[in-house]
Structure formats: C-alpha cells, structure tokens
C-alpha cells in the first residue's frame, strides 16, 4: 500500500475550526462550532464560513460528517455533525508544533506584552 502523504498545512481559520470541533466531540455542527469559536476566542465566526471550511476539510479527508435526526426547532431539518478524523488530528498537531517551534525563545517578549 502506498504511504499517504502528510496533510497539507492548515490555515489559521481551519485550525480554529478543527480545535473547536475537537473540543465539541459528538456535538460539533456548524452552529455550535461557530458559537464555540466566538465564546472561547471572542472572534466572530459566521456559521456559513464555518460550514464551507468544514466541507473543504471533508474534501481533504480531515473531517467526516453524518446527519442527525430532524428537530422541530430547526424547522424539521437534521443537523450535520462533523468529526475530526485521525488525519485531521495529525494536521492539527503539525500546525500547533509549527507555532510552538516559532514561538520558542519568544516567551519573554510575548509574556511581557
């Protein structure tokens, strides 16, 4: 079997979405992910942008999606839940490591600000 390539480096927003999705576990769907990003980082994240980002990452095989049961508060429509796949976890780890590498030695500067 041909070894799979390492996932491509993530963009900043992709990293945020992946982290939020990971922290929400089974309850990650566009509305909750957007809410989570806003609550934890204070950064406004639109639901549609989150959805498009998740779909793009699904194309890259970083996340997978499944449909839940229809609920009345959503006009009888189902939720689309996303889960981070091992490749997605790997990509997150790679990105964080890169940031860590770059920030090492800058603790003094960064903490003092």
């Amino acid at each position: 079997m041909r070894p799979r390539h390492r996932p491509a480096p993530l963009g900043e927003f992709e990293l945020l979405v992946l982290l939020a999705t990971l922290s929400l576990g089974d309850q990650a769907y566009p509305v909750s992910v957007a809410r989570e990003i806003e609550a934890r980082t204070g950064r406004k994240a639109s639901r549609t942008t989150v959805l498009i980002t998740l779909e793009r990452m699904e194309d890259k095989d970083l996340v997978s999606s499944r449909y839940g049961e229809p609920t009345p508060e959503r006009g009888g429509r189902p939720k689309r839940f996303f889960r981070v796949k091992p490749r997605g976890v790997q990509a997150t780890r790679d990105s964080l490591e890169r940031i860590e590498t770059l920030t090492s030695g800058l603790e003094f500067v960064l903490k003092s600000r």
Partner: protein, 857 residues
C-alpha cells in the same frame, strides 16, 4: 418560523446535496431561533433567513467552482466522444437543426432590421405623428388649431409641423439635383435632438420675424455633393422660384441608415404655419412627455380641436413606417419559429433513437458510479454541442442567406422601409446563439431524462428495458407534434398561396393586355395635344386617351397618384336607392373607354363635339346601382359637386378596381374632358398592338423632348403596375411557401428516421413474424399503417390548431377564409402523400428482412 423561498432551497440543493442543503437551512433556522431567544430578532425574519441562504449559495458556488469546471470538462469530453461514435447520426441532427436555425436567423435578420429595431433617435418610442385629416380626407387641424395645440397640448414636450417633398429639383451652390426636401417648423430640431455640424439652425424667433429664407443641409448631401466644404454657409439654395441662404449643416448623427426619411433629407427649409385662418396643408409630429400614452395625446388633440366626432389616430413614428408590413413580418417570424420547433422535435426524436442504442453503455457507466444527474447532463451536453455545431453551420449559411434575403426584399418590394440595413449584426448573432441554447436544451431534455431514469439492474440484462416503452411513447409524441406543427405551417402557407392566386385572377375591370400609361408627376414641357400626337406616331399604338382629376386606374396606386372624388345625387330630387354617392372623378376623352377596354353594359360614350343640352356623364355599375337601384338609369340626370352641374347619364361601364383588387374602391364617374390647346398636364392611356416591353423604349424615346424635367420614369406598363400592387402578396406567399416546404421536408425526414429506427430495433421481432408466416406485403402494410397512424394523429391535432391560428390572419387573406375545407383537404392529401413516401423505404426494408439473419443477431 419563516420558510426559505423554494427556488433558493433548490439552488442550494443543486450546489451540494439534498441532505446537506437541508442541514444548512436547519442551521439558519436554528440561528434565527437563538436570536429570538436572545432578543436579537431581525426586523424581517424571512428576508434575513433568505439572505443567509443566498450567502451560503454564494460561498458554496465559490468553493465548488473548480470542481464544477472539472466536471463540466469531463461531461463535455464524454459528449464529444458520443458524437464522434455516431458521426452519421450526429451529422443528420446537425443538418436538421442547422436548416431550422438558418431559416430562423435569416428571417429574424429581416424582421429585426425592418420592424423590431427602434428608430436611432433619443427615446424614439415617444415620437408620434398626429394626423391633420380624418378618414374622409377632411382637414381637422387647421393652422389655427395647430397653434392651439402648440400652446396648450400638455401631453407632449414638443410639437412641430414637418413634411417631406420627394423628387424636388433644387440647386445648391450651383449643383442641381433631384432631392427630398424637408419642410419643418423650428421645433423639429429640438424634438429630434439634432445638432448642427457647422453653422446654426433657424429658430422660432426667425420664423416670427419672417426671417425664413434660410436652409439647412443634410450631412450626407453636404459631404458627398459639396465635399464637406465649410464655405457653403451663406451660399444660395434654389427650390422652384424660391431662393434661400444656407445657414447650417446637420451633424453626422442625423445620417443614420436606420432613420429612414426622418432626418436624412438633403435640404431642410422652414415651414411657417400661418397664424391667420388659412387652408395650409399640415403634417404634425410630436414628442410625448415620459409616461404619456398615444391614447392620452389623441384625447387631448380631440378636445383642443373641438372635434367630438373625430378620433385622431395618433401613432408612434416607427409604427407609421412599418405599418404596411408589420403584421406579415411578425407572421413570418412566427412561421420561422415553428420551423425551428419542427427541427427541434425531429432532433429530439433522433437523439431518443440514439439513446436507445446506447442503453448498455449508459448502464455500464451507471454501474461504475455515474449518478443519474451525470448521465442526464452528458446527454444534455451532447444536445448542446450538436446545436452549437448546427448554429455555427447555420450562421455560415446565413451569411449568404441574409444577403439573398436583402436582395430579394429590395427587388421584390421596392421602397421597403430600412431594407438596406438588413444584415447579420450583433443582435442577430445574439438571437442565433439564444436559439442554439434553446434548441439544444429542447431537443435533449426528454432524451436526457429518459436515459437517466433507466435502472441499472434491468439495463444490464439482455432483455428490453422498461424505459424502452417510455422512449417509444415519447418518440410517437414527438413525431405527432412535429406533423401537427407542419400541418399548421402548410395550412398557413396554403392560405397565402390561395389568396395570391385569387388576387391575380380577379377581373380588375380593364383589359391589361398591351396597355400602357404616360403619367408624369409634373407638367409636360409641351402641350398635351403634342404629346398625344407624338405617341400616336409610334408604330404599334392603336389608341391614346387622356385623363385628368383622379389618376389612371392601377397606375395611380402603383406609381404615384391622387384620388379626386365627387359627390353625386339624383337631379330629380327623389332619394332613390341612395341619397348621395361619393365617387372617383375621372375627366376623360370620349375614346377613354375603348382604349381602356371598358365595354359598356348600357349606352355608350358621348360625342366628341357634344353641344347643347346638359353635359354627359358615364357611371360605373356600382354608382348607377347606388343612385338608381334597379331602375333603368339611361338618360337620367345626375347632380355632381365637382365638376359642379347637372349631367345626363349616357352609359354605364363595369366597375374598375382602380387601386388594385385588395383595396376598397369607391365607384367611379366619368366626365367629359373639354379640349384645351394650352393644357400641359394629363395622364395618357395608351393601347398598343405590340407587347409593352417593345413599346416602352419607343415611347420613352419619342417623349424625351417633351417629358418633364425629372429623372424618374413616366411611361409604365399595366402589367408592371399590377405586379407592383401584388408585390407584397407575392412575396408573402413565396416566403410562406418556403417555410411550409422546409417544415414539410424536415417533417418527412422525421417520419423516415423514426420508421428506420423502428425497423432497426424491431428486426428480431419482424424476423420472428416472417418465420411464423407473415408475408413481406403484410409486414410492409403493417409498417405503413404505423406511419399512417402518426400522420392521422398529427392531422387531428394540427388541423384545429391551424384553424384557430388562421382565424387571426383574416386581414392578410384575400377571398379565402380560415375555414376553407379545400385548404385542409389539400394539406391532408399532400402531407399524407409525402409522409407515406418517407415511410415507404424503411417499410420495404422491413419487408425484406431475412428471418435467419435477423434471429442470429
């Protein structure tokens, strides 16, 4: 909870999948519910929700663009391969579509140039013409009322008097030419948004101060005749006895080929409408205010003219120019659209046939993971590619076609408005491309649907798929619809051909054989008696008659003429059959009737030197019947208004259709033309013993020294006059016949193709039937019966539609009605004959099928 607009939801589904779109809409609704709970409820929740969905669609589109492009590339590649795999079939489809599209493109280029294109002036839809006379030619807008309109007609921005005088001899800066002169009031320049290239225009102030011996030159005339010389300002313009000074030249914008005679006259001079009561002849144009309708203007004109019994026909200028051809041009466009439809139905049928042959291929693609949508899109793309190919071919043919159409229109219909501007331009190309897309989709929609709905499991089996029945049903439907459309086309063209035959066969009242007319628009340069002697000296001339007042019958309508009338009454005071009769007033020499070939039904002509007693009159039978009913009119006395007096009826002659067969003609009254040696103007009717083509050059030559000083011809043949009068009708009938013929040929090709494919797909079944004892004759009969059933169904559907549509054409027909059974019988016979002939070849092929060979397949 607001519901998203259905098309938006559908679009979102198209961009992703049904489930994903549902979930995304659910997200929007959940977000909305949350806002409600948090007290951030939007003012227009439904609008907010739909805007959110639009945003999602936009982002999905942006994200999907590369993927879509890749898929489109793949679909196009498959379509190209499919076309290459069946070159003969594809070529047939392309040819049929190209024939339809080429015909449609050429027709559109003509109709667009003449009828559809707006006049090239600012807001042309607001320019109107206001009539000054009513239907009886009575002047309703006198100069006095003109000024009332000028000051108080609030529904228009500008109002101007404007009249074109064609064929006027004018001398400009020493150059004499026969030109069109526009006489107009100063407001015309502002109304038509004209500006001077050099110099200035005259103003209302000039008109008020009597400073009116001025002229403005047209741009083209200035460039071509005077070489664009700016020193022309201040030079003299002589028109007749009047001399004016050039004060300006119109800018190049006025010289547009599509503007007709509105702004391209070579010479413009002031038309001063007198403020004192006068009988001046007027013609008025106006620019309506924005948002005003012609009906409003008509109402205001009627009120200001204080004429409650007159409904002025205020018409848009373009309508006025195109009125004579508008109806039949639009009809031609409709007929061309029908031909395109026939071609589409035919191509759809061929593609259905092809899709049946590709069942296995599609099944394999479906089993390899192609979705129904992908398969349908592949067929749609194939249709679009074919129609694109057809359009390219059609456009290439149209280059020659449009040229041909232009030549045909300009020669068959001389003087046709904007005929010189017929061309293959951007508008025509856009229409052709739109036609390509519509035909491509139309002809592949059903095949795409039919191909994509076949279940894989049954397709891969060696048996006939259930969709084959559906496909066959669709093929029958298409063929029936195609035949029905051809029926409509044929009925309409047949009606036009019958009208033409009836128009040309009608007895116009005078004997046209070897009849000619000498009919100048201006006076001769010698007394008419000398002209007459010159004509009589030409070998082959057997009679010359003079006529004045109303123009010579037929010639007057075909070339140039005036229709002088008189009102007749019985002189005995009894009311009789009709109290008064309006009749055409002819003043003729006594030999006029013999020269025209008018045989007296009663009495005879007056004596040349009739003296004493009341003057004589000859009436046509219509006038005599209206005045005297069934009584014997001979010797009765008639009072006429013009020439005023009491006349004794000495004879009656048959009615003459002076303005051609298709126009309502008033009756005619013939009065004695008194001899006058000083007379220099009259029409002369010439009877010859030789054909007109031999006589025309002889007469023209002999009249050269005495003819008026005009470049235009003034000797005409009666047959040429009739040809002119029937030109539009002949062109119509020819055009409609082309549409009918092309439609029928495409229809016949459709019958042939469907029958051929039927035979090809039923070979095995036919083989079994032959093996079981069916004779070739019986097989052939069965095949022909199948074609016959389709023809009958098409006729049953097409005849009522044709009847319903033809009822609207009554105004364009002549002595034939939409309900004429002989027309439908003829069409049915023709179509059945052609259809059965087209089916005969495949039927014969079916009858020759060898059961052994067919069963082995």
């Amino acid at each position: 909870m607001p519901v998203p607009i259905r098309p938006l939801a559908w679009l979102l589904r198209m961009m992703s999948s049904r489930h994903a779109a549902n979930a995304a809409i659910g997200d929007v609704l959940e977000d909305l519910a949350e806002r409600r709970d948090a007290g951030r409820w939007p003012r227009h929740p439904a609008l907010w929700a739909n805007l959110q969905i639009i945003r999602a669609i936009r982002l999905e589109m942006l994200a999907a663009a590369p993927r879509l492009l890749r898929s489109a590339g793949l679909i196009l590649r498959d379509a190209r391969r499919a076309i290459r795999a069946a070159p003969a079939h594809s070529l047939f489809v392309v040819l049929i579509l190209a024939a339809g599209i080429a015909l449609g493109t050429v027709t559109f280029s003509v109709v667009d140039a003449v009828v559809l294109k707006p006049l090239p002036v600012e807001h042309p839809e607001r320019l109107v013409s206001i009539p000054t006379r009513d239907q009886d030619f009575k002047q309703r807008i006198t100069p006095e009322i003109y000024w009332r309109l000028h000051e108080h007609l609030d529904s228009v921005e500008d109002l101007a008097a404007r009249m074109n005088m064609t064929g006027t001899m004018a001398t400009v800066a020493g150059i004499t030419d026969q030109v069109t002169v526009t006489r107009a009031s100063a407001d015309i320049f502002r109304m038509l948004r004209l500006s001077p290239a050099i110099g200035r225009f005259w103003t209302a102030d000039d008109e008020r101060r009597g400073n009116t011996d001025v002229a403005v030159l047209g741009y083209r005339f200035w460039r071509q005749q005077l070489g664009g010389d700016p020193s022309v300002l201040g030079k003299d313009v002589s028109i007749g006895t009047r001399t004016s000074t050039v004060i300006g030249v119109l800018s190049s914008a006025s010289d547009h080929p599509e503007v007709a005679d509105l702004t391209n006259a070579p010479i413009w001079v002031p038309m001063v409408v007198p403020r004192t009561p006068s009988e001046s002849v007027l013609a008025i144009v106006a620019r309506m205010r924005p948002g005003v309708t012609t009906a409003q203007v008509a109402g205001d004109v009627q009120r200001l003219a204080e004429a409650p019994d007159w409904q002025p026909a205020v018409r848009r200028l373009l309508d006025l120019y195109v009125a004579p051809v508008r109806h039949w041009m639009l009809l031609a466009l409709g007929a061309a659209a029908l031909v395109v439809l026939v071609a589409c139905a035919n191509a759809a049928n061929l593609m259905l046939t092809r899709s049946a042959a590709r069942t296995q291929e599609m099944a394999i693609r479906a089993s390899l993971g192609a979705s129904r949508r992908q398969i349908a899109l592949a067929v749609l793309a194939e249709g679009l590619l074919l129609s694109l190919g057809a359009t390219t071919g059609a456009l290439l043919c149209s280059i020659a076609g449009v040229r041909l159409a232009k030549v045909a229109v300009t020669t068959a219909l001389p003087g046709m408005f904007r005929a010189s501007t017929i061309s293959l331009n951007g508008r025509v190309l856009a229409a052709a491309m739109a036609c390509a897309v519509v035909t491509g989709v139309l002809c592949s929609l059903v095949p795409a649907w039919q191909t994509s709905r076949a279940p894989v499991s049954t397709l891969l089996k060696d048996s006939e798929a259930p969709t084959a029945t559906g496909r066959r049903r669709w093929r029958s439907t298409f063929l029936t619809a195609e035949i029905a459309t051809v029926v409509v086309l044929l009925v309409v063209s047949w009606l036009f051909v019958v009208s033409l035959i009836r128009v040309t066969r009608i007895d116009l009242g005078i004997d046209r054989t070897n009849l000619l007319a000498v009919m100048p628009r201006l006076a001769f340069r010698a007394p008419v008696d000398e002209v007459r002697q010159r004509i009589e000296s030409v070998p082959g001339v057997s009679g010359v008659a003079l006529s004045r007042a109303a123009s010579l019958p037929l010639f007057g309508r075909a070339f140039h003429g005036a229709w002088w009338t008189t009102t007749l009454e019985r002189a005995d005071g009894t009311s009789g059959a009709g109290s008064s009769v309006k009749a055409l007033q002819y003043r003729v020499t006594p030999n006029y009737f013999a020269v025209a070939g008018l045989r007296f039904s009663r009495g005879g002509t007056w004596q040349a030197d009739a003296a004493g007693g009341p003057p004589a009159i000859v009436l046509d039978e219509q006038a005599a019947r209206r005045l005297f009913g069934d009584e014997d009119p001979m010797g009765r006395q008639v009072r006429a208004t013009e020439p005023a007096g009491i006349f004794t009826l000495v004879g009656t002659v048959p009615h003459v259709y002076a303005r051609g067969a298709e126009e309502d003609d008033p009756p005619a009254a013939y009065f004695n033309l008194k001899p006058d040696p000083a007379r220099i103007f009259a029409g002369l009717l010439v009877r010859a013993s030789r054909p007109p083509e031999q006589m025309l050059p002889l007469l023209t030559e002999v009249l050269e020294p005495v003819g008026p000083d005009l470049k235009e011809p003034f000797v005409f043949a009666a047959d040429e006059a009739v040809r002119r009068l029937t030109a539009t009708r002949r062109f119509n009938a020819g055009l409609m016949s082309v549409f009918g013929l092309v439609g029928m040929l495409i229809g016949a090709a459709g019958v042939y193709a469907v029958m051929t494919s039927f035979v090809a797909q039923q070979t095995r079944e036919i083989g079994v039937r032959v093996a079981l004892g069916a004779t070739p004759a019986r097989i052939q009969r069965a095949m022909l019966a199948l074609a016959w059933r389709h023809l009958l169904a098409g006729l049953a559907l097409g005849v009522p539609v044709a009847w319903w549509l033809s009822r609207g054409l009554t105004a364009l027909l002549f002595q034939v009605t939409a309900a004429d059974a002989s027309v439908y019988a003829g069409v049915a016979a023709l179509l059945s004959g052609v259809g059965l002939m087209a089916a005969w070849i495949p039927a014969r092929r079916a009858a020759r099928i060898d059961p052994i060979v067919s069963l082995r397949r």
